[in-house]
Structure formats: structure tokens, C-alpha cells
């Protein structure tokens, strides 16, 4: 009887590709982070404040160039307790990933939530603030985490 499946080896040259990445939104965002500021862009037509800020509004389909510095405080939108990694392995030190809506913005920032002792006492809508790394270098990781400011 014939085998039903078999393995065939192939190779793949990843240098086949190189991508140009649009830099406008990222450049503005990390430039702000270096100075411990959170920058975004605001659409003059619909008023949407995007963080990070693209150079166009996806709703109004127009260019936007108004840069705004936004609040470093906001509200907790949703959170999850990370008990496993992407391979399914149970992690030794569970941590919380959350989405935060900074005051006055319409985007959600994703980050690690700290300042809690029992995760069961965390509630959506609690107030948080951005916490910076001591030394910032103009990278996404400059924004260390979000800290709960209420119990």
C-alpha cells in the first residue's frame, strides 16, 4: 500500500524581498517618545485624533498634517492576564497586556499594565498614566508601561 503523505524539502531565499516602510507616522511618534511626549495627528475635518498619527484620515480620505501632543493619562479599555507565550508555554511571571485610550484621543495604545496586586480587582475604565524608561532613545520601547493610578 502506498504511503498517503510524504515530506518534500524546499528552500526559500528571504532576500527575495525588501520592503519600503512608510515612515511619516512612525517617525513622528518615536521623535515624541524620545522627548517623553506622545504625539499624534488630528483631522481638521472630523476631529479624530490618531495616535500614532498617519498623514491621512481614513474616514474623510484626506491629508492631515496637524500634529498634536496628547495627554499621558487615560482610561483602561481592556486587559488580559498573559499566562502563556505564543508557543503555548506557561510563563513563569504572568503579566497584563492592556489597551488604553489616552484622554482626548480616538486610538488605543497597547502596553503592559503595572501597579496592581490582584488582577481580579482591576476594572475597565480605571485611570492609568504612561511611564517612561529612564533613558529614552526614540524607540517604541521608550514608553515602558501604563501604571494604574487608582486602586
Amino acid at each position: 500500500m502506498a504511503q498517503e503523505t510524504r515530506i518534500i524539502e524546499n528552500t526559500w531565499d528571504l532576500t527575495a524581498y525588501q520592503w519600503k516602510i512608510e515612515s511619516d507616522a512612525l517617525d513622528l511618534f518615536v521623535k515624541g517618545l524620545k522627548d517623553k511626549k506622545i504625539l499624534g495627528r488630528k483631522c481638521p475635518q472630523c476631529g479624530t485624533v490618531y495616535v500614532p498619527g498617519p498623514t491621512y484620515c481614513r474616514k474623510c480620505f484626506r491629508d492631515i498634517d496637524q500634529v498634536v501632543e496628547v495627554s499621558q493619562e487615560g482610561t483602561l479599555d481592556a486587559f488580559t492576564v498573559n499566562l502563556a507565550d505564543v508557543k503555548g508555554t506557561i510563563v513563569e511571571h504572568p503579566y497584563i497586556t492592556c489597551t488604553v485610550k489616552l484622554d482626548g484621543t480616538h486610538s488605543f495604545l497597547m502596553g503592559v499594565l503595572e501597579g496592581w496586586t490582584d488582577w481580579r480587582s482591576i476594572k475597565e475604565g480605571m485611570r492609568v498614566k504612561a511611564v517612561w524608561k529612564d533613558v529614552t532613545q526614540g524607540a517604541l520601547a521608550d514608553l515602558s508601561h501604563f501604571q494604574l493610578t487608582e486602586k
Binding site: I8, N10, D13, Y17, Q18, E22, Y56, R58, F61
Partner: protein
């Protein structure tokens, strides 16, 4: 149900070999300026259809990052993993269904600067028999076809060089073309770098960065966009087996089938007489006589005479690729859709130096897969 569908708007980028902007900005600027030209907003488009390819884009679900860049945020959007003319076929059917009145179709590529075309194409080959041995690719498949045609019909290297020059002269007058070689001679083509004989570098289409957007509409909605709609009166689509070993590369029976279907639908009995010009998706100059003959535009094996008499030139009996075709610009995925835009431009007498006089009916073609495994044919009229 809608009964008739028209091309009511189109725009292409000026294609380049190294776009100064990323694909997201390229397609956003293109669609924004098309909307501006037509005096419309994204609210005037019912459905959006992308033509992109995960292999040539180098990422899975290749349109995900680009969706909002064509105005389709929170709208009906989908994708065709093939040439843009296939996406236009999809849009055409959506409008015929009556569920949609208007559709925006877009194809784009960064083939000029972001990926190595023959290498990435080779990854799309049959993974059992073709890919692991590495002895066949899209270029060599075209060379096998070219060699078969040339031997059977005594089509010489010089004939092929003349055909190449004809297209490059047309491309030189096309403001969107990436490849500009105004002084190229038959001798230059014959002496260009040999790749897979009889294919030389000069015969290869101009893989480029670029995009093309086309708006289709029902008859009812067309007035809102233009007073000069271009009607899609016939469509045909056909594919051969993926495995090259099971195909007749020269016969192109599947392309003939697609063309016959489109002609029948458009009421065309004698394409040689009734078609005024053709825009064909040729990745290599050598494909032109093979495709044109399979589509019934010229007598089988007449390629040599067609070149000699200049029948496929702009002033000839049946001009083929008056735009210069993909030899001037081949932004993969947009290339077949560009044929539709170029044909529409011709039918609306907007083609400038490349204008075919008195053109009323055109046939448009797109291909995909190695050696044109899959073909789409449109008959368009003004």
C-alpha cells in the same frame, strides 16, 4: 439586476523602477486624485476590489495594510489574488448582480524595487515536480514557448527584435511608461544580454513600481461619473493546468476559449475585422504573436508577415499594444488592469501620440501564472 457595465474612471501612476514612496502612499495618492478628477468621494463607491498577490507582495493577506488607503475604510472590500483585470471581472459581476452600482478596482506592485521577480515567481511553481529542481521558472517557460513558435513558423530573432522595437517606440510616447529607450534599434535588441535563449533582456517586460485604479459602474449610475462611458460588452476567462508539463504552451487553447467567449458575448463574429486594436498582457515580447493568434486577431503562424507589414503597429491593420504594453511598464497585478485603462483612453480619444484613429472596439487581455496559465479577456466599446 443590472444589464450593462461601464468603465467610468481610470488613472495610473507614472510607473518607475524605484518608487520614492511606499505602496500605501502610492495607492492613496492615486485614488485620491482619481476621485478629485471625477468630483466624487469614497461614498460614491459601493465596493472596493484589490488585485494583489501574497507571493509578490511578500506578506500574507497582502492587502490588509493597504485597505484604508483606497477609501474603503468601513466599506465593502475584497481581494483577488491575480491580475487587476480579474479583479475588474469580479467587480463587473458584482455590479451585474444588482447588489452594487459602482466598484473601484485597484492593482499595484513594487516589482521594480522591492522583490526579485523571477525568484519570487519561482516560489509559486508546482512544489512537487517543478520548484525543488529549480530548472524551470517564468522566464524559461516563456523561452520554451518562444522557441516552439519561432521554429514552427520561421519567426526569426530579427523578427522578434523588430516587434520589441515597435513596442518600445510606443512606450516612449506613453507618459506612464517606466522604460524609455527612444533610440533602441533592432541591432541593440539582438545584442542585448542573453537570458534564456531565444529570450534576451530587451524582450523582457519592464517590471516596475506602479498602480492602476479603475472605476466600473452600472448604466444607471454611469452619468454621475462621465458623459463618455466605455462599455464592457464581452468577458471571458479560462485557465489551463498549473503543472507546465500538462500544457500545450504554443496552442494556448485556454486563451482561445476565453477570447471566443468574450467575442460571442459582444456579438463579434470576425475579430480580425471587428476589433480595432488590442491591448495584451505580454510579459515577454515573444508572447505577442502567440497570444494575438490564439485570440483570433491574426492568422496562426502569421507573426513574421505581421511584423514585416507593420500590421500590429499604430497605423497598421490591427494595432497591438499601442500603449507600448508591458514592455513599457509591468507593475505585476496592475498590468492587465492597465490594459483596460489604456484601451478606455484610446476609445475616448485621449491617447495623444499613440492614438489609434477611429477606434471603437477593443480587446483587452490579462494573464497570470507561468506561461500565461490563466487568461482574462474583455471586449470594450465606445
Amino acid at each position: 439586476m443590472n444589464e450593462r457595465v461601464a468603465v467610468v474612471g481610470y488613472k495610473q501612476t507614472k510607473h518607475t523602477f524605484d518608487s520614492p514612496v511606499a505602496r500605501e502612499r502610492m495607492i492613496y495618492e492615486l485614488v485620491k486624485s482619481l476621485f478629485k478628477d471625477l468630483g466624487i468621494t469614497r461614498d460614491d463607491i459601493d465596493t472596493f476590489i484589490f488585485a494583489s498577490n501574497d507571493f509578490t507582495d511578500g506578506r500574507t493577506i497582502s492587502e490588509v495594510y493597504t485597505v484604508p488607503r483606497i477609501g474603503s475604510f468601513m466599506k465593502d472590500e475584497t481581494k483577488v489574488e491575480a491580475d487587476g483585470l480579474n479583479a475588474a471581472l469580479y467587480a463587473y459581476m458584482r455590479i451585474l448582480s444588482g447588489l452594487y452600482e459602482t466598484a473601484l478596482v485597484i492593482g499595484f506592485s513594487m516589482a521594480g524595487s522591492e522583490f526579485r521577480v523571477p525568484l519570487t515567481q519561482a516560489y509559486t511553481l508546482d512544489p512537487v515536480y517543478e520548484r525543488p529542481r529549480g530548472i524551470i521558472n517564468f522566464y524559461s517557460t516563456a523561452a520554451l514557448q518562444a522557441s516552439a513558435y519561432m521554429k514552427k513558423y520561421k519567426f526569426t530573432d530579427e523578427d522578434l527584435a523588430r516587434l520589441t522595437v515597435k513596442n518600445l517606440q510606443n512606450a516612449n510616447n506613453n507618459p506612464y511608461a517606466a522604460r524609455k529607450e527612444p533610440t533602441i534599434s533592432v541591432e541593440d535588441v539582438l545584442n542585448s544580454k542573453p537570458l534564456y535563449l531565444p529570450i534576451r533582456q530587451a524582450h523582457v517586460s519592464a517590471y516596475a513600481d506602479g498602480a492602476c485604479a479603475v472605476i466600473l459602474s452600472s448604466k444607471k449610475a454611469a452619468k454621475k461619473f462621465t458623459d463618455t462611458p466605455v462599455w464592457i460588452d464581452g468577458v471571458g476567462h479560462s485557465m489551463d493546468t498549473y503543472y507546465i508539463g500538462d500544457r500545450d504552451l504554443l496552442g494556448m487553447e485556454h486563451l482561445s476559449a476565453a477570447a471566443k467567449k468574450a467575442y460571442k458575448m459582444a456579438g463579434i463574429k470576425n475579430p480580425k475585422k471587428e476589433i480595432d486594436f488590442a491591448e495584451l498582457h505580454t510579459n515577454f515580447a515573444s508572447e505577442e504573436p502567440v497570444f494575438a493568434e490564439a485570440m483570433g486577431l491574426f492568422k496562426p503562424g502569421s507573426g513574421k508577415d505581421v511584423v514585416k507589414n507593420g500590421d500590429s503597429g499604430i497605423g497598421g491593420a490591427l494595432p497591438v499594444n499601442p500603449s507600448g504594453g508591458p514592455l513599457g511598464a509591468n507593475p505585476i497585478n496592475a498590468t492587465g488592469l492597465i490594459r483596460l485603462a489604456e484601451a478606455s483612453e484610446q476609445l475616448r480619444k485621449e491617447a495623444g501620440k499613440n492614438q489609434v484613429k477611429g477606434a471603437k472596439t477593443a480587446v483587452v487581455h490579462a494573464q497570470d501564472g507561468p506561461g500565461a496559465q490563466l487568461n482574462t479577456v474583455f471586449v470594450v466599446r465606445r
